[in-house]
């Protein structure tokens, strides 16, 4: 199908784009390599979801955004994500493809922490970015969309925490798609060196209900020996955006990567969250919540692959489905040969609020080692009428009873979101979507 592979953006465009951003040569050639692969590679094939009719072509690639002088200038829907009272100094706001605001505490700067936009990082720390960009976590040639991502990467942040640096306050990034048609080919890299520790929280937000756009996002988290990364995210792309988001983690010896993802997009979404537990004693908790509504179709994969001995992976996915929304939840725990004494646990629960909604939970355990423990639990069901009866028997209205049960159902993940303002905002978004 020739028409499928026709790209809205060609080689000259990509070269010029890279030149305009003053990118190092390696990035330019990586982009062009990606572009060439787009024609030959297949689309990703999420299990049980057909994405062949989804919009991956109609979008605008490039849009600038104005910088702001003060956080007070931000519209309310962005302001609510900020802990304005606590004056969090570690904040990055991207508006379309431009940096609108960035700050990092002088203390962290002095310690060698990097928290800056991906283009500046490529200029100022070219070797460091090159070391991690599409190397250990996601590859350029995985599928057509990862190749396209490489070719058209148009935003993102680079986070680097040097050895032995422990960051107490969270780093927060907000990716604000103000332009209704602009695509997000965002690339986020988080590198935690040996014995370091950080909490990173990101928000994606767009407003395009009728305009088409695409988000093709790659996030790579690398936790070196004994590092600890706590990664929180709330994705809130509007219904016009088709989303393909890859969040990958690589954990070395004694390292921990914990994910708390609020996947609140209103459009069609494929989300992959994969963590490789490479080192012995490495640990990952992968927690996600979602609310599906309207006609949207979503496919979520949470996968933890155990290579290291005594590694522990815990997957928890909770989804609420209403209207005619349909979602597939793939939970995959894979234990490779040699990963003795590892433990792979997973739980997928789907709460159905309407007859026409669909939810599939697919728990998968793939185990190539004898001396391990593993377990899974999955359920798809409706709100229990006896729970409603119990709550109502205390004077609580049916509406409020359902609300309590739904929020309670999502709470185990929502409560893990590290920044209170973001957590509260996620609760608000859930509230808005459920009722």
């Amino acid at each position: 199908m020739a028409i499928d592979t026709k790209l809205p953006y060609e080689k000259d465009y990509v070269s010029n784009y890279s030149a305009r951003l003053n990118e190092p040569e390696w990035m330019k050639s990586l982009r062009l390599q990606g572009l060439e692969l787009v024609d030959t590679l297949p689309m990703p094939k999420p299990d049980k979801t057909n994405i062949s009719k989804w919009n991956f072509k109609d979008y605008k690639h490039d849009a600038e955004g104005k910088a702001i002088q003060s956080l007070e200038e931000l519209p309310n829907e962005i302001k609510v994500l900020l802990d304005l009272d606590n004056k969090n100094q570690n904040l990055f706001i991207q508006r379309n493809q431009s940096v609108a605001y960035q700050s990092l505490s002088s203390e962290l700067k002095a310690k060698g922490v990097i928290f800056t936009d991906i283009f500046s990082a490529m200029n100022e720390h070219s070797d460091l970015v090159q070391r991690y960009f599409m190397k250990d976590a996601v590859s350029v040639d995985e599928n057509r969309l990862t190749a396209l991502h490489t070719a058209l990467m148009n935003g993102g942040v680079f986070v680097y925490v040097p050895k032995n640096v422990v960051i107490e306050d969270p780093l927060q990034a907000i990716f604000w798609q103000e332009d209704l048609e602009v695509a997000s080919f965002n690339h986020v890299i988080v590198v935690a060196e040996e014995n370091s520790s950080l909490t990173y929280v990101e928000n994606y937000i767009s407003h395009n209900k009728t305009e088409n756009a695409v988000a093709n996002i790659v996030t790579e988290v690398i936790a070196h020996d004994n590092a600890n990364v706590s990664f929180g995210a709330v994705d809130n792309f509007a219904s016009g955006t088709t989303v393909y988001v890859n969040r990958r983690g690589v954990a070395y010896r004694d390292a921990t990567i914990d994910w708390a993802l609020g996947q609140m997009n209103d459009g069609n979404t494929v989300s992959e969250n994969i963590t490789h537990l490479i080192g012995d004693n490495s640990v990952s908790h992968a927690k996600t919540v979602t609310v599906g509504r309207g006609e949207q179709t979503q496919n979520f994969t949470a996968k933890i692959v155990h290579f290291g001995r005594n590694s522990e992976g815990y997957i928890l996915q909770h989804g609420v489905m209403k209207d005619s929304a349909s979602s597939v939840f793939n939970g995959i725990g894979k234990i490779e040969h040699g990963a003795t004494k590892s433990n792979a646990e997973q739980e997928s629960r789907v709460l159905m609020l309407s007859k026409n909604a669909r939810g599939d939970a697919n728990p998968i355990l793939l185990i190539d080692e004898d001396d391990v423990t593993a377990g899974h639990a999955a359920s798809v069901g409706r709100v229990d009428p006896l729970q409603i009866f119990y709550l109502m028997s205390r004077g609580i209205s049916r509406f409020e009873a359902e609300r309590l049960i739904i929020h309670g159902f999502l709470a185990p993940v929502v409560n893990e979101i590290p920044i209170k303002a973001v957590r509260d905002q996620l609760t608000q978004v859930i509230e808005g979507k459920v009722h």
């Binding site: 109502m392 409020e400 049960i405």
Partner: protein
Amino acid sequence: MAGSTLEIKDLHVTIEDQEILKGVNLTITGGEFHAVMGPNGTGKSTLAAAIMGHPKYVITKGSILLDGEDVLEMEVDERAKAGLFLAMQYPSEITGVTTSDFLRSSVNAHREEGNEISLMKFIKEMDAAMDYLEMDKNMAQRYLNTGFSGGEKKRNEILQLMMIKPAIGILDEIDSGLDIDALKVVSKGINKLRDESFGCLIITHYQRLLEYITPDKVHVMMQGRVVKSGGPELAQRLEAEGYEWIKEELGIEDEIAGQKA
């Protein structure tokens, strides 16, 4: 507040096309403690659930009135706000909702909008009630009934009863699964509420509970009806002699309620 009156008249109830209650008559007024006793399967718990509006039970005949208002016309939450409370035999577990948040929502549901209980006052009242029931304070921050032992669930039901202070409390086998110490504590909580404005319907098949909570009236249910009523002495005789003498007296062979309708 003067006491309320709950009148149950000729109540017939079916579950999945099986008639369980076949004409129950019972009147409870504020200040009175009534005990409903009877062997297993005679319809006691069905009566409790039907009064509160359990979704599985269908009322086919009869009426329930609270101070003259038609309870059967009310939604479950309206029944609660009108003054009814059911302490359940098997309370639901609700993950993600803390006991404390739930309790506060319940208390506020019984108050006018704009007149919600202040957080300080709520915590004070809850702490006092928890102390009275010898409950671990950490329970308030645990998810509602989730992972609670049988005894903790029962105490939690009585905690709600004490905080909500309904006009009529219905206690469905609140004594089942409790050891003697827990039974004493739970009884203490219930007795604390005894006054002119509170009426109580205690459902049990053991006389044991009634050693700690003295009922004003005792009713025996068999075959889905109240077949005998009396004072506290009736419970004592049941404890001493069992139910056989009633069956003989009334010519009942099989006391079980659930015959096909």
